[in-house]
């Protein structure tokens, strides 16, 4: 065996390890959200739950391209982003249940998970509400010379908010290291995006001179490769980028949005689940390339499933915050 071949071998082992990590992360999000659905429908979770199931490849592919100290901002449909950036399921569930052990001591809930330790500037319940925050984090990175990058996740519904265009203009003028990731899951709540969105989506960024690309958001390898390129570019001082990830939300806008036929046909949902599932697509590729045995993937599923069960158990047993905490943290 030549040295070159040996090198290739190591490289591919590293790659297999990476794709298995990516696979596990997507499965984690899927099973986390299935538990959320369960908790919510059993009336154990208060508030609102917006599930990320179907869109896992976007969060995981993008965050795989980030360093732990890079920043993200997230959305009301944010569990996937937070997990992909490094949040642990036990404290996530605890937050969703309003418990003291949660990431925000129970004060934020499902739509406001934030965690400085993983660079998570916060999920945001105002559509496009965090585009300024992400761009500001990129300004800090540039000013402080940290070479960090900020990723701003938002759904295609955020394309309707003017703030996005104000900050994209500034990001390009100031060449800030921010990646605007538009998750196009086709629906602004209960309305197909073509009814709300004129023109071409990437053109909204190219109008500012921002590099814009579009990827199949169900193909995690493609999402990762593109994100890696855009993130590296931002890190080198080449400015912002805009990435449209075409994806699909398997569930309703929120848990409880059950009768969806008035805005989308069942056949459409079935098509995405059967033919476009991001976890299945990666599994098929790994098996087709003989990179992994089916049993290894099954093992990952089983491990993640028991991890999620333990995390839910932890959160259910965890205490609520004490009453005196209601007035803490209003001011720093």
């Amino acid at each position: 065996m030549t040295i070159a071949a040996d090198h290739r071998e190591t490289n591919s082992a590293v790659q297999v390890e990476q794709w298995l990590r990516v696979y596990r992360q997507m499965v984690s999000i899927r099973l986390f959200e299935e538990q959320v659905n369960e908790l919510y429908t059993r009336a154990l979770m208060p508030g609102l739950a917006h599930l990320y199931i179907g869109e896992e490849a976007v969060a995981v592919g993008i965050c795989e391209a980030l360093r732990p100290d890079d920043y993200i901002t997230s959305t009301h449909r944010g569990h996937g982003h937070c997990l992909a950036k490094g949040a642990t399921p036990d404290r996530m569930f605890a937050e969703l249940l309003g418990k003291e052990a949660g990431y925000c001591r129970g004060k934020g809930g499902s739509m406001h998970i934030a965690d400085p330790a993983t660079g998570n500037l916060g999920a945001n319940a105002i559509v496009a509400g965090s585009v300024g925050i992400a761009t500001g984090a990129a300004l800090s990175a540039k000013r402080l010379g940290t070479d960090r990058v900020a990723v701003c996740f938002f759904g295609e519904g955020a394309l309707g908010q003017g703030l996005l265009y104000e900050v994209m203009n500034l990001a390009q003028l100031w060449k800030l290291p921010v990646i605007y990731v538009c998750e196009n899951n086709l629906y602004n709540e209960y309305t197909h995006y073509t009814e709300t969105t004129a023109g071409d989506i990437p053109a909204r960024a190219t109008a500012f001179g921002i590099l814009a690309e579009t990827v199949d958001g169900q193909d995690v390898r493609n999402v990762f490769a593109t994100a890696k390129r855009l993130v590296d570019r931002g890190r080198c001082g080449e400015g912002p980028a805009f990435l449209v990830c075409n994806t699909y939300r398997y569930h309703g806008h929120h848990v409880g949005d059950i009768n969806r036929e008035y805005y989308r046909p069942k056949t459409e949902e079935q098509h995405w689940k059967a033919d476009r599932d991001p976890i299945k697509l990666l599994a098929d590729w790994l098996k087709r390339e003989n990179l992994v045995e089916a049993e290894a993937l099954d093992r990952i599923h089983a491990e993640v499933a028991s991890e999620m069960e333990a995390a839910v158990k932890f959160a259910l047993a965890a205490p609520y915050p004490k009453p005196e905490e209601v007035q803490e943290d209003v001011y720093a």
Binding site: H112, A114, G129, G132, G136, L139, L163, N169, L170, Y331
Partner: protein, 331 residues
């Protein structure tokens, strides 16, 4: 106030001095806003700062108030200490989501983990013949929101000391400057000093009536107190200086001492700052009051352009003195 090295500065100079001292002290302090660099803003408050600190720290922005305010929120969370300049207080409406839903709530929603040490400097006040969209005093809006602090300086001395405190505060602080006051002169020490939030200042001591006044109305109240003195009424003028935190104790104590109170503020009275302060005094000093608390503020109309009309909308020395006399003539 240490008198030894005090100099006479205008309100604008005091603001500029606070900014430049803090920018020298802390390299993370930066300014964002429209025409803040070479132009130094239309009021010329920031003249000279870009020459000293560079365009890297004094950043001219497009006319995108919401955008650069949102950027300041994120920058504050991640290590900078931005000061955003909102040219006219009327334009704060454009920043409302970023200030109210983002800046004010980040610390609480994150369970105390993220902080937003930013300052928004903006203006208030009518009688500049600028009509309805450049003349409002909207500080009550931000005073209503938990998570924000609101500062209303009324002298060059207060402006400098309070702005330095605002810049060092770990929370979002909104700093309202009366644009008619930029040329007001006053003594300012050369030595370093700061003024804590939540401490009212007795601008003039008196025994017969308390006039609680904010920002632009402090000078009006002091003028009214002069007029009242001529008719034998001794008025105490108290400036809360910050609407949140609010120094309730000093206001209540003065009300108990004089037993009569007028609250005057250039914002709208309805659901406004005067309503809140009157309520604090009524709750805290009810049994010591000899008359109902009187409130005076902007007339409840959009600010008109025509000068004789505009002048009718704002309390004056004469109208405040008249109201005080009426209160003092009650049994």
């Amino acid at each position: 106030m240490p008198e030894a090295n005090a100099r006479e500065l205008t309100f604008a100079q005091a603001i500029r001095e606070a900014l430049s001292e803090e920018m020298r002290r802390d390299p993370h302090v930066c300014i964002l806003g429209e025409d803040v660099a070479e132009a130094g803003t239309p009021f010329k408050v920031l003249s000279g700062l870009v020459e000293e600190f560079g365009a890297y720290r004094v950043l001219d922005t497009p006319i995108s108030e919401a955008g650069f305010t949102g950027i300041a929120v994120g920058a504050a969370m991640t290590g900078l200490r931005p000061i955003v300049d909102i040219m006219f207080g009327d334009f704060i409406t454009l920043t409302m989501d970023q200030m109210v839903n983002q800046a004010a709530k980040v610390h609480y929603m994150s369970g105390g983990k993220w902080k937003v040490p930013m300052v928004m400097r903006t203006t208030l006040g009518a009688t500049r013949r600028s009509a309805a969209q450049h003349s409002q005093s909207l500080h009550a809006w931000f005073s209503h929101v938990p998570g924000l602090k609101v500062v209303l300086p009324s002298t060059p001395y207060d402006a400098k000391g309070l702005l330095k405190t605002a810049i060092r505060d770990e929370n979002p602080v909104v700093f309202f400057e009366d644009k008619m006051m930029y040329k007001l002169k006053g003594m300012v020490p050369a030595e370093e000093y700061t003024i804590p939030f939540g401490v009212a200042d007795v601008k003039r001591a008196g025994d017969d009536i308390t006039i609680v006044a904010t920002s632009s109305m402090v000078q009006v109240a002091l003028g009214a107190a002069e007029l009242l003195e001529k008719s034998g009424i001794s008025a105490e003028v108290i400036d809360p200086r910050t609407t949140w935190p609010l120094d309730e104790k000093t206001l209540i104590e003065s009300a108990k001492k004089t037993s009569r109170v007028i609250v005057v503020d250039e914002g709208y009275g309805r659901y406004g700052v005067t309503a809140e302060i009157a309520s604090v005094i009524a709750e805290g000093a009810f049994y010591d009051l000899d008359a109902p608390v009187k409130r005076m503020g902007a007339m409840h109309v959009p600010i008109p352009f025509s000068p004789p009309l505009e002048d009718l909308t704002v309390p004056t020395e004469k109208s405040v003195a008249g109201a005080a006399q009426a209160l003092c003539s009650r049994d």
